[in-house]
Amino acid sequence: MFFVLNLTHQVTLHPSYFGRSMHELVTGKLLKDVEGTCTGRYFIITIMDTVDISEGRILPGSGLAEFNVSYRAVVWRPFKGETVDAIVTSVNQVGFFADAGPLPLFVSSHLIPPDIKFDPNATPPQFTNNEDSVIEVGTHVRVKLIGTRAEVGSMYAIASIKEDYLGCLQGS
C-alpha cells in the first residue's frame, strides 16, 4: 500500500560546496541518498518535497556540514494479503519469479491453479493451461502477497495466483 510519510534524513556536505546554492545541493543529495531505497519496512518510491532544511552544523574535525532535512515521500509498504501487479522474470518447474516494482516475489506451483501446468518443452518454458493463460518471462501477472520478509536493504515476498481474478493480466 502507498503512503505519504514525513521523514527526516541527515545530509552531510563537503566544505567545497558551501555557497549560495547549498540548499539545492542538499536536496539533490537527499534524492540520491534516499529515493528508491528500502528501509526494511517499506520502499521509498519518490520524494515529494522537502519541508525543512535545518541550519548547517559544521562537524568538528572534518569540516563537513550536517543538515537535518525533513521531507515528504511516497512510500510503498507491501502487506500480507495485498494484491499487486508484477512482471515475470524467471520460470522453472517449482514456480515462477516476478518483480512487483522493487519487490522480488515468488509464486510456487502450489499456489498456482492446478489447471495451469508447467510445460518444459515450450520455448521458452512456461506455465500454461493451454487456453488463455500463458505465464512466461515478461508476462504481466496479478498476484496476492501471502508472506513478506525483510532483510537489511531488501524485501522478499511469496505470492499466490490461486484465487479469482488473479493470474495473467489480459491484454497486456
Partner: protein
Amino acid sequence: MGKPLSLGNHLRYPITITKLLKKPGDSVKKEESILQYAYKWKRMVGDPSHFKGEWEEELTGTGNWDSPVDGALKRWEVKEGMEIEGSIPFVDIEEECPHSIQFQGLCGMCGKDMTETSWASSTNDTARATINMIHDQTALRVSQDEASKAEEILQRRLLKYRKLSLVVDLDQTIIHACIEPTVGEWQADKNSPNYEAVKEVRSFQLKDDGPRGVASGCNYYIKMRPGLKDFLDKVSEIYELHVYTMGTRAYALNIAKIVDPDKRLFGDRIISRDENGNMTAKSLARLFPVDTKMVVIIDDRADVWPKNRPNLIKVHPYDFFLGIGDINSSFLPKREELPKVTDTPKKKAPKAVEVRETIEPEEEEKTTEESPTEARPATEPNRKTPTPATEGEKISALEELVRMGGGDDQALRLEQAAEQEKFLEKQLKDRPLLHMQEQLDKEDEAEVDEANEETQNGNTEHPHQRHNLLKDADLELMYLEKHLSQVHKAFYDEYDGALVNAQGGRVAQLKPGHNKKLPIKDGVGDLNIVPDVAVVMPRIKSKTLENCVIVMSGLVPLGVDLMRSEIALQAISFGVTLHTKVSSKVTHLVASTSRTRTTKVKQAARREHIKIVNQQWLLNSMSKWEKEDEEPYLVHVSDSDRKRGHGEPGSSPPSEIHVIDDSDGDDESESSDEENQTEPPSIQEYDIEKLVPSEDYPEGHSPADDLQTFDWGNADAELDDFLNGSDDSGSDSDGGSDTSSGSRQSRDAHQGAKTGEKRKHSETEDEESDEESKLAKKQRVAISRTTGLKPVKTPNSEDSLPTPGPTINGQNGNAEDENLEDEDLEDELEKELMEAFDGEESTASDGGG
C-alpha cells in the same frame, strides 16, 4: 502424513503423563500446550548453618509440553498416567504446511517466515528445504520430497520422449574463448595468415559484468568447435541439453546466444558459477539432487566432476587459440599435464629433437604438418595450461577445498572474479597469440633463408610464405556425437528389455513396496526399472581397451601417484588393466614421445609381443572409443636399446642390492612407475628423523629411492666380504669425512654399501662419480639410524634374512642369468629382476645420455 514428535532430551526423566490437553482431530497452534506431565526431583532444603543441618527432599514438579508446529493432532502414542523413561515419539501431528519450498527464508507454500525461531521450536525450519536445484536461482530451495517429485516428473517426461539429459560444458568443450585483441586485428586484416581461421570467430562484450579493471569492456572472441551446429541439432533430438559452465552468468548467457540464438536447444537450462556455489567442482547433484540415472556429462576436465565420473564423457579439450587455455578456469586447480606429443610416431627427424627442447606451441604446429598420417592433428597440445595463468593457479587444490567449505557465496564469487581479472589482464597485456605468430613468422623467414629441403614443412600447403598459427581441424564432436547416440541406444535398449519383463511379470507389480501410485502411463513403466547411465556407459567404454594391459612410461610427472593421475583413471575407465612394471602379461607400453629411451621402453623392447606406442594412441583410442591400430603410433626404439636387452642380460651382476630389496614385498613398487620420476610415497616413513635432505637431484635420480629399499642385511654380508679382503676398493674419498656418524657398525655398513655401489656402476663412466658419492653420503646418513628400521624390513623379506653367506653376490648374478631365460618363474622373482634392471639401466642411460 503426520509428523511424529519426540519429547526431547531436555526433560527430567522419568516423567509421568498427567493430562492430555488435546484430543485427536483437534487443531494445534504452534507454542500451544498439548500435554501436561509431572516429574520428581530432589533438592537440599534447610539451612546448613542451623543445627538441624541440611536434608534432601523429593519434590514433584509439573510441566507443559508445547507444540513446535501448527497442524491437526492425529493420534496420541501415550496415555494419561504413563511413565516415560526417555525421549520417545509420542504424538502424531499433521502439519498444515510442510514448508518444502522456500524462497529467501519464506515458505513458498504458506508464506510464513522460516527464519523465526521460538522457545517451542525444536529445529530450524529453514533446514527442511535445503536442496538447490533450480538452474538460475540460488535463493530458492526445496525439500528432499519436493526434489524427488520434480525429478520423477522430469524422468517420466524424458522417458516419454525417449531422451536423456546431457550436461554440456562450454569452455574448451564446445567453444573456445579468448579476449586477445590480436584476434580482432586478424579478423579485420584480410592479409593476415590467420584470417581464414578467425573469420568465423564471434565476439561480444560483457557490459553488465561489473568493474573489471583493465579487462572491463574488452571483447570476448568465441570460436565454436567445428561442426557444433550439426552436433547440437542431432544430439538435442535424443538429449535434453543443459549448460553447466564455470564462467559467469552473463558470459554463459552470451555464449548461449551465440550457440543457440533461438533458445531451442538449451532454453533456460543454463547454470554458471554464480549459481554453482562451489569454486572448484561441478556437481550433478546441483541440478539432479536425487537421481542421476539419466544424465550424461560432456566436459573437457574430468577433475571438476569428482563425484560424477561414471556419467562423464571426457572430451578432448578444444584449443583453438593456442596458449590461451580456458579463460574461465583460472581459479581452478591446475590441470594435470601430459607431456605433449612433440613428435610424430614414424618420422624422427633430427629437427624434431630440437623441437623437444623448446616447449613452444608453434613448434608443435610444425610437427603436425609433418604428420599427414595422423587423422587428428597432434597440434592440440594435450593438456597445455595457459602460460599466463600460472599465477592464478598456484593456489593448491587443497586450499581451495578448505575455502570452499566456508560456503559464503558472495565472497567466493568475488574471489573468483578477482582471480579471473588478473588472468584476463595478463592476456590483454601479454598478447600471447601475437607473439607466437611473430615468432612463427621469424622462423619462416629463417627457413626460407636456409632454403633447405624441408619443403614438406607445410610450405606446400600454403601458397604464402607465412604460416598461420591458428588451425581449425578438430573432429572431436564427430566422435562425441557417435558416442552419445551409442550411449542413448544402449540405455534405451536396456530400458525396453526391462520394460517388457516388468509388464510381463505381474508379480513384480504386486510386490510390497511397489509404488501403486505410479501406474504405467504413456507407455512409461515404473521408474525402478530405469537403467543407470553410470552403469551403462562405463560398460560400453570398458569394452574399448578390454584386453590391453598397459604400462605407462614418462606420462605421469614426478611425485604424482600413478593410479590417481588423470590419464590413468581415464585409461582404467576404458577397460585398461594398468600395470606398473613391464612383464610378460603386458600388451602395450605407452611411452611419452619425448622420452623414448626410458628403462621401461628398453625392457619392453626386449619382449617381442609388447607394442610400444606413444600416448597419442591411447588418447585417440579413448577419444574414438575403439582400439586404434597401433601401427602408426609405434615408437621408434633404437636398435641399441633392443640389443642391450638381448645381448647382455644381467651383464652387471652386482645390482643385487636391488634384486633383493624388491623381494621385501614392497608394496609401493606400484607407484615407482617411472624409475626416476616417481618418488615413492613411503619415503616419509623411512625418513623418521628427517635426515634425508629434500634437495633436488639434477637427473631426477633421488638417492633416497635406493635407500628406502636398501637391504641392510646384505650390506652386512658385503661388509664381511670386504673385511675378508676379497674386494679392495680402499680409495674411498668419502670415508675419511665420515666423522659425524660415530658408530663403528654404521661406518662399516656404509663402506660395504659403497662397495656395492662401486661395483654396480663399474661399467659406467667417471662422470658419474659425483653423483655416486652423493648417493653414498645419503646412505651413510641413513645408516646412522638404521637400527630401528632393520627389524621393520626383515620380516617380509626372504632373501634378506640375517647373515647371508658371503658368496651371495655371485649366486645372485648367476640366478639372474637363469631367470632371464626362464619366463615361467614366479611373478615375484620377475619383479625382482625388473627392479634390478631398472636400477642398473637407469644409471647407465643417465650416464650415457
